[in-house]
Every structure is written in structure tokens, then in C-alpha cells.
């Protein structure tokens, strides 16, 4: 079913909300700035609005719709309890600038979540306010830079980043005034430790390693890397995007890591919501802790205390403030609800099952699809497109074909270290039956590709609200908003 844009459903004067009568408008206080022209917003009634967004939602696929083996971003079950408690009026209907005596429970949420993040990672401190993973990454690098500046090491501006890193890693480094020096991978899909050591030097601020890495592999020589890094006077930043594989099993502090962001929306199951909001608290070592950004919560004499200015705490040397207000509180609640539900034992079982599921997929698929690296993998398994060689079917075609079978495609063409990557992360939420169904379909499609039925692949998907979209046209002739008469529906 087609669903027109809201702008195409307007009839001026329709109400979607009934407001109480206002006193007459007094222009005296508007400083002569009353708006003159209409804005151009469409007027819809409530029934139209409800139907519009219901229909739009029906054109989407979520974890609730089916298996979502994305990879590189953990798409696991989002508990509804988290949604419920996040809506308790005593938590949702709070203003960040209420007197602190009236928000002790909110500060307790933040403090309790921090307790868990520290307990799980083994790290002594955590900066709670970053709004997303990349924001947390940048926050960690800012703390590192601030430390170096503070210790006469301001010349340390080089950051070592493996080639397989997420694109945000180099971008975040650049935002801190760092330059990025890539580190190659070895044949086993891990950091080439010798090449890495050769790049160390007294201008290196830190290394940034994703662990488990973007190939779904644990960096086996991580202790060696950490040791060399520290000996070179640099810090070890870990990208925590894949923390789901080891949460509750491995303490970050035991790996020699100084700093790691945590994607609450991945590891702790807060909803991705079509692209956000996320939250990226960043755990910090003792050395980096004093540089954590404002604000933060401390235990004071009259309960918990929110610190908004550096002067309030002795020894605090915050590098600044990373966003408005006090962090992604709504996301904190959801993550904490998940954490309290799982507990330490549940989290350990979750990472175990996540890794088990990925290895099960790997084991069942690797004879037909081409596995890029030998197992065991961690929470995701990586294939490349050698199995499609000479079939005329591309990784993209293969993935689009899965849509018609009721599955969300895996991540494609990432990581870049293998050709035509297919990265699959089943997560711990899925049953064996679901995995078996997926395996059956994937094997069937692989056979079909080898059987030469390339046209079917090129035409996929067929059953979706839209079939393949012309991305080149979109980029070449950008139409980025509706304009009257300019956006015809077909």
C-alpha cells in the first residue's frame, strides 16, 4: 500500500490537537519579532496521523519482525520491561535542573549504572555522558589528549589504528587534533604485532583497537600489544562495539586497556530505534579518570551529588563538557533495567550464547560459504564472496535475496579486509530453530547461485514495499525535502 507524505495529506485548518483557549495575544513582549509568513506545515487530524505512522511502521523491519543477523552492530532482543520503567513518571517527568534534593533517585540510576559498568569492566571510572559510541570514542581520546597535555606530552599526536577499524575511529581521532597511522592486519585477521611495534614512538598518543575486532576475532596478542603501548608511554584505547561477545566473562582491566566506550544500545539492549538515540559511556583507567568530562555524580554528605563545575571537586581536571545536560538518561534507565534483569550470571550466559550461536552458524555454513578465517570466532562470523566467484551473483544480490525469505540481511562489504564481506551476528536472543531455518535458506540460496539462477538474484527483493532503490540518482540529484508540486508519488 502506498502511503503519501504528510504534506500530501493536509487540509488547512484540520486539528490534530485541541488546545485550551489562550488569552488574547499581546505583541508587546515579542520585541517586534512576530512571525509574518506561514511556515508551510501540513494540517492533519489525529486519525490520519495514527494511520500514517502505523502504515509507515509496516514498511519497516525490526528485531521484533524477524531474525536480524546484522553484524558489526548487535541487534538483540529489546526487552519491553525497559520501555515500561523508562516511562515511570518519577523518572521520565524530571527536569535536569531541578534542585538536587528532588532528583536523588535519578542520580541513583546514573550511579548504579556506573557501578555496574565499572564492575563488569573492572575499570575504576566511567564517563557517563557521551551520547553514542563514536561520541564515547572521542571522549576517550579527549581524555588521553588532556592527560598528555597535562604531563608535558602535548607533542603526542599520532594515533595507531588497525586498517579494519570502524570509520569512526579515524574520524574521532582527527577531531582531537590527532593524525592517524594505520596498522596492517596479519593473515589471521589480527593486528600485525611486529608492524605495530615498529610504529610505536614518543609521538604516539594511543592505539585504538577494536576487540573482539571487526572480523569477529579476539585479538590473541592483546596483552603484548598493551605492554608495548604502555612501555612507549602511550594509552590503549579499545573500541567497545563488540563488547557483547565478552561481557560478564572478561574484564577489560585484565587486558591492559586504559579506556573503552560501551554502546549501551548494543551490549545492554536498548533499542536502536531506526538509528538512535544511543549512549556511549566510556570507562577510564586511574590515570585518565581525573580528565573525565563534566558533569558527573559523586557520593556527598547529603546523598548523591551532581558535579557541574570542576571547582567543586578537588583533583578533577575535566577536559570539558561533551553535550548538554547530564547524558542519555532515558537510555541509562533501559540499560540498567536490562542489567538488573540479567545480573552478572545472565550476562556471562549471554556472551557465551552469543559466541556459541556465531560459531554454530560458522560451522554449519563454512563448507558452502567461504569463511574468511578459521574459527573459533567470537560473536560474529565473517565470510567473503569467493563462494560466489563466477556465478554473476554479488554479495549485495545474495543479501537482498534473503529479504524475500523473511530475514534481514547481514552486514555487507565490511570489514574491508576481505573481499565482498558477509558479516553475520546472530546474537544470543535467537533460538536454534531460527538459526537452523536461516542456515537452510542460506545454503539453498548458495546452491541456487551456483546453479546459475542469477536473474532471480538480480531481481531481488520482490516482496518488499520498494524494490532496489537508485542510490546514484539520489546522490547525483539530491531531493532532500518535500516541496509543493516537486515530489510526485510515482
Amino acid at each position: 500500500l502506498e502511503e503519501p507524505l504528510i504534506f500530501e495529506q493536509s487540509s488547512p485548518g484540520r486539528d490534530g490537537i485541541d488546545l485550551p483557549e489562550a488569552p488574547p495575544l499581546d505583541l508587546d513582549r515579542l520585541g517586534g519579532l512576530a512571525r509574518k509568513a506561514p511556515i508551510g506545515l501540513p494540517d492533519l487530524s489525529e486519525p490520519q496521523m495514527v494511520r500514517h505512522y502505523t502504515r509507515l511502521s509496516q514498511k519497516n523491519y525490526g528485531i521484533d519482525s524477524g531474525f536480524y543477523p546484522l553484524g558489526s552492530c548487535t541487534m538483540k532482543h529489546n526487552p519491553r520491561l525497559s520501555e515500561k520503567v523508562a516511562r515511570l513518571p518519577g523518572l521520565a517527568d524530571l527536569h535536569p535542573f531541578q534542585p538536587q534534593s528532588t532528583i536523588q533517585g535519578a542520580l541513583e540510576v546514573i550511579d548504579l549504572l556506573a557501578f555496574w559498568l565499572k564492575g563488569l569492566t573492572g575499570m575504576p571510572a566511567v564517563a557517563m555522558s557521551p551520547a553514542a559510541g563514536a561520541h564515547g570514542e572521542w571522549c576517550g581520546l579527549m581524555a588521553i589528549r588532556a592527560y598528555h597535555e597535562d604531563h608535558g606530552q602535548g607533542h603526542r599526536r599520532r594515533v595507531l589504528v588497525p586498517e579494519s577499524a570502524h570509520g569512526t575511529n579515524p574520524a574521532s581521532a582527527a577531531m582531537c587534533g590527532f593524525t592517524v597511522d594505520p596498522v596492517p592486519a596479519n593473515a589471521l585477521g589480527r593486528v600485525d604485532v611486529e608492524a605495530f611495534k615498529a610504529k610505536l614512538g614518543d609521538d604516539v598518543a594511543c592505539i585504538m583497537v577494536t576487540n573482539p575486532n571487526t572480523c569477529g576475532l579476539f585479538e590473541t596478542e592483546i596483552l603484548e600489544i598493551a605492554k608495548a603501548t604502555h612501555e612507549a608511554g602511550a594509552f590503549f584505547y579499545c573500541d567497545g562495539a563488540n563488547y557483547n561477545a565478552i561481557v560478564g566473562r572478561v574484564k577489560i582491566s585484565d587486558l591492559g586497556i586504559d579506556c573503552m566506550h560501551i554502546n549501551l544500545h548494543k551490549t545492554f539492549s536498548t533499542p536502536h530505534g531506526g538509528g538512535g538515540p544511543g549512549s556511549g559511556p566510556t570507562v577510564l583507567s586511574d590515570k585518565l579518570a581525573p580528565y573525565a568530562p563534566l558533569p558527573f555524580v559523586v557520593h556527598g554528605q547529603n546523598g548523591l551529588k551532581l558535579i557541574e563545575h570542576a571547582e567543586e571537586v578537588e583533583g578533577a581536571r575535566p577536559f570539558g563538557r561533551v553535550k548538554g545536560f547530564h547524558g542519555q538518561f532515558g537510555v541509562f534507565i533501559r540499560a540498567l533495567a536490562y542489567i538488573l534483569s540479567m545480573g552478572g550470571d545472565g550476562m556471562r550466559q549471554a556472551s557465551t550464547d552469543a559466541v556459541l550461536n556465531a560459531n554454530y552458524l560458522l560451522a554449519r555454513l563454512k563448507d558452502v560459504l567461504t569463511a574468511s578465517f578459521d574459527g573459533p570466532c567470537m560473536h560474529e562470523c565473517l565470510f567473503d564472496d569467493r563462494f560466489l566467484k563466477d556465478t554473476g551473483v554479488s554479495t549485495l544480490d545474495f543479501a537482498k535475496m534473503l529479504i524475500d525469505e523473511g530475514f534481514h540481511p547481514m552486514t555487507m562489504y565490511f570489514p574491508l579486509v576481505v573481499h565482498g564481506a558477509l558479516l553475520m551476528e546472530p546474537t544470543e536472543s535467537e533460538t536454534k530453530e531460527t538459526l537452523d531455518g536461516f542456515i537452510r535458506v542460506v545454503l539453498g540460496l548458495a546452491a541456487k547461485a551456483k546453479d546459475g539462477q542469477v536473474e532471480d538474484f538480480k531481481a531481488a527483493p520482490r516482496l518488499t514495499p520498494r524494490r532496489r532503490l537508485d542510490e546514484t540518482l539520489a546522490a547525483r540529484t539530491p531531493v532532500l525535502r518535500w516541496k509543493p508540486g516537486a515530489n510526485s508519488a510515482s
Binding site: 485548518g13 490534530g16 490537537i17 489562550a22 515579542l30 520585541g31 512571525r35 509574518k36 511556515i39 506545515l41 489525529e46 496521523m49 495514527v50 519497516n60 521484533d64 523518572l91 517527568d93 535536569p96 531541578q98 528532588t102 536523588q104 541513583e108 540510576v109 553514542a132 563514536a134 570514542e137 579527549m142 570509520g167 574520524a171 592517524v180 565478552i246 572478561v250 585484565d254 533499542p271 536502536h272 530505534g273 531506526g274 538509528g275 538512535g276 538515540p277 563538557r321 548538554g324 538518561f329 538488573l340 552478572g344 556471562r348 556459541l356 567470537m378 534481514h408 535467537e430 536454534k432 518488499t464 532503490l469 537508485d470 542510490e471 539520489a474 546522490a475 532532500l480 518535500w482 510515482s490
Partner: protein
């Protein structure tokens, strides 16, 4: 454990298929010294009832806005959110979907973001908008960086009208870059001279309208001065409802407009998550940070939507990207666009009118209170008042909180080093305030003053 579907027999069958006997073998790559699970000393998992009780207990320690006459603003505003919004937003297809990288199964997200972008462009009076940023503060900082990139100039001039936390965030973003932030003093009376400070190194001037202290400003002279000197005018709007009544920044000559969108659709949530709106001129679109949705056609020629212009983004440009942003605030953008769809042109104008009229009403009531002086000459729904010089507004607010009234924000909370701001209080009024709320505030003030 309710979120984990495997039974022990499932696990055994899977291990057998993998060809191992013990799941620990899958963790063989982890250094032995880091495999000491025993060193965790964390509580065990709990059922829903217990977890709900824990949150209910914590919620009970707060004084929620609904239980008190409430006049706090300063960047987060309490508006009434229609019930339909939250219920639609909770649909799993919205809530549990990922960034719309697979457009064939993401037309829902992509279409609402396209509609959102259009609404934001219209509201701000600009030509184009992105699919949202984390919040107003980070959007403000990113806009300053963008202005520097466009003008190839290093100096960012931050008005005293700017929310102090937006200022601090922007300063932090620029801290270790080659750019410079220059912030003016807090300016409750709107007296600062920005025009005189613009020079040939100035990338942009950043002002907020309505200002942090409430005041409205005609930005046209400033826009002209910026443009005459080759700088950009960047306008921050902390209260988007104001745009239903007040001239848009675009109409006054702004080059980049950023907005904290929390006011519409979302509730307060203790200040997070927020929603950064980001709009600019067409000519700057390729310098704009964040995701953008564009219209295109599918294989069958039907209109559809995709993420586009990704050549600016970090996953392609890596360290040369215009920012490191990887997520937007999808669900918050959905809440915002849903609320604005319900309001429409007619409703937004009415809502803005109502907010302003009620603020004027509170102002007139406060003028009758001895010991209070209203500082703001013009305002939308928030204004600054001052007590006598020797009175600490923070103490007044605490005293009123003890009476169950949440009476506004003392300016000193943001400017501890400015003794002249000690007696200044910011008060916000929205459609949620009743006559009884205002009278309760006035009578409590009469008691404590």
C-alpha cells in the same frame, strides 16, 4: 533466563555440530589470565517484578514535575505530549529497527526522516536539514566546525545569549583543533556588542534566539554584519515551539540553524536523550554533518527514499570526514515529527500563542510581588527576574522546592563565578501551567521573600 532462549539440550546439540565438547573452547583466544570469571562479584539476575520494584523505589525518591507547580526551562521544556505519539513510537518496527541501511525494508524510517527534514527546514526558514544530531549542544558545536570549514577561518564567536552548556560543549569540541572559540559574557539584558567583534578571521557568530535569559533579538543587523565580513551567522534555538510565533532565523538571514528539539514529542527525561535539529542553505549541504535522507526511485520507478550524500561520512572519508557521527536520534526525530504532524501549521501557531500568553500572564502576576524585578524586555515563554542584590536565587529555589514548588533555575547554577547573577532566576511557562500553578508560585514567593 527469560531473554535467553537456549535450553541445555540446545547448547549441547550446537556444540556437537561445531565439533567441540565444551563451550569454553570457543574462548581459547582469550588470554588465560583474563579468563577469571570468578573475579566478578556482581549480583545475580532478577525477575520483572523485582526490577520494577527497584525502579519504582528510585522513582519515588524524585519529585516529578507532574506533582508540583513547575516553572523550570533553561533548555528543557515541559510540554504536553499527546498519547498517540508514545504508543506509535513503541511499535516494534520502529523501536527495534536499525539505521536504515537496507532501504527496501526501511521505507518507514526513511519516509518519516524525509518528512522530518522538510519540517525542520520549514520551521527554521532554511532550505535543507539533516536527519538529526545527538542534541542541541553537539549540533551547535558541529555547526561551528562546519562554519569554519566553509569559511576556512578559525575564529568562532559565541554570544552571551548562548546556553552556557552549549557554549561549553562547543568550546570542548574546538579545544584540540586549530579553531578558536571566543565566548562573550552572560548577557541577561541583551546589551552585548557582537557586531563590533566580527573580523576577517571570524568563521561565524553563534547566537541563541530566544536567548538563554529569554530575550528575543532581531538578528537582521547581525546577519548583515556577518555577511559583509564574510562570516556566517549561526543561530541556536533552544525552544522550537517559539518558531510558531517568532520570526524564523532563516527569515532573518541565518546561514546555519540548529535547534534542541526536545520540546516536541519527547518529554523531559532528565535532559536526555535530546534531539539536535540541523538546517542550512542548499549550497552548504555537502559540508553538513550527520545523516541525510533523499528521494529517489526504485527498480519499478516508484518513489522511495534512501540515505544519501554519504561521501561526507566517516565510513567513507574516515579521518577526513566532516564529523565522526554514526548514529542520529532516530526515535527522537520520530517523536518530534509525529508531534509536529499532529500540531500542524494551525496547532503550532496556537501552541506558541498559548505559551507566550501564559508567560505574559505570569510576568504580570510577578510584577505584583514585592522584591522581584523582571529583567527581560522581550521573551517567548521564559524570562529572567532578579531579586534584591543580597538575595541568593538558589536559596529561594530551595525554599520553594521544600514547599513542593519547582520554581525555575537560578542563573548561578551555570555561572558560579558571576556574583552579579546570584539573585537572578529564570522562569519558564508552557501550556502545562495552570492559573493555580502560577498563583501557588506567587503566594509561595510572597511567603519566602
Amino acid at each position: 533466563m527469560r531473554y535467553l532462549p537456549h535450553t541445555e539440550s540446545d547448547r549441547r546439540a550446537m556444540l556437537a555440530a561445531i565439533g567441540i565438547s565444551d563451550v569454553e573452547q570457543l574462548f581459547a583466544d582469550v588470554p588465560v589470565s583474563a579468563r577469571q570469571a570468578a573475579s566478578f562479584d556482581l549480583p545475580a539476575g532478577q525477575g520483572e517484578m523485582a526490577v520494577e520494584r527497584a525502579f519504582t523505589r528510585m522513582a519515588g525518591k524524585n519529585l516529578s514535575a507532574g506533582c508540583a507547580p513547575f516553572f523550570i526551562g533553561a533548555g528543557i521544556y515541559r510540554h504536553h505530549v499527546p498519547a498517540a505519539i508514545d504508543q506509535l513510537l513503541s511499535r516494534g518496527e520502529f523501536l527495534t529497527s536499525y539505521t536504515p541501511y537496507q532501504p527496501e525494508v526501511s521505507q518507514g524510517t526513511l519516509q518519516y526522516l524525509f518528512e522530518f527534514q522538510t519540517q525542520v527546514a520549514l520551521l527554521t526558514g532554511m532550505e535543507v536539514a539533516n536527519a538529526s544530531m545527538y542534541d542541541g549542544a553537539t549540533a551547535c558545536a558541529e555547526a561551528a566546525v562546519m562554519a569554519a570549514r566553509i569559511t576556512k577561518r578559525p575564529r568562532v564567536l559565541l554570544s552571551g545569549s548562548l546556553h552556557p552548556q552549549y557554549r561549553e560543549t562547543t568550546e570542548t569540541f574546538l579545544k584540540y583543533t586549530e579553531l578558536e572559540a571566543e565566548a562573550l559574557s552572560p548577557d541577561p539584558l541583551g546589551m552585548e556588542d557582537l557586531i563590533g567583534r566580527i573580523d576577517s578571521r571570524t568563521a561565524c557568530v553563534v547566537v541563541q534566539n530566544p536567548g538563554f535569559f529569554g530575550g528575543l533579538q532581531d538578528l537582521r543587523p547581525l546577519a548583515e554584519a556577518c555577511h559583509a565580513d564574510g562570516a556566517l551567522l549561526m543561530v541556536m534555538v533552544a525552544e522550537p515551539v517559539s518558531l510558531g510565533l517568532v520570526e524564523s532565523p532563516g527569515a532573518m538571514g541565518a546561514d546555519i540553524v540548529v535547534v534542541e528539539g526536545q520540546s516536541l514529542g519527547m518529554g523531559m527525561n532528565f535532559g536526555g536523550p535530546g534531539l539536535g535539529l540541523f538546517a542550512t542553505r542548499d549550497k552548504y549541504v555537502r559540508q553538513m554533518p550527520g545523516r541525510i535522507v533523499g528521494q529517489t526511485v526504485d527498480q519499478d520507478g516508484r518513489r522511495g527514499f534512501v540515505l544519501t550524500l554519504s561521501t561526507r561520512e566517516q565510513h567513507i572519508r574516515r579521518e577526513k570526514a566532516t564529523s565522526n557521527i554514526c548514529t542520529n536520534s532516530g526515535l527522537c526525530a520520530l517523536a518530534f515529527t509525529m508531534h509536529l504532524t499532529l500540531l500542524g501549521e494551525t496547532g503550532l501557531a496556537r501552541l506558541a500563542h498559548l505559551n507566550h500568553a501564559l508567560a505574559v500572564r505570569l510576568e504580570s502576576k510577578l510584577r505584583a510581588v514585592k522584591g522581584i524585578k523582571v529583567l527581560s524586555q522581550s521573551y517567548f515563554n521564559e524570562f529572567a527576574v532578579t531579586f534584591a542584590d543580597d538575595i541568593d536565587a538558589t536559596a529561594i529555589v530551595e525554599a520553594l522546592a521544600a514547599k513542593g514548588i519547582l520554581a525555575g533555575v537560578p542563573a548561578a547554577r551555570f555561572f558560579p563565578g558571576w556574583p552579579e547573577l546570584r539573585p537572578v532566576l529564570l522562569l519558564a511557562v508552557t501550556e502545562t501551567n495552570t492559573e493555580a500553578d502560577m498563583d501557588a508560585l506567587v503566594s509561595a514567593l510572597n511567603e519566602v521573600l
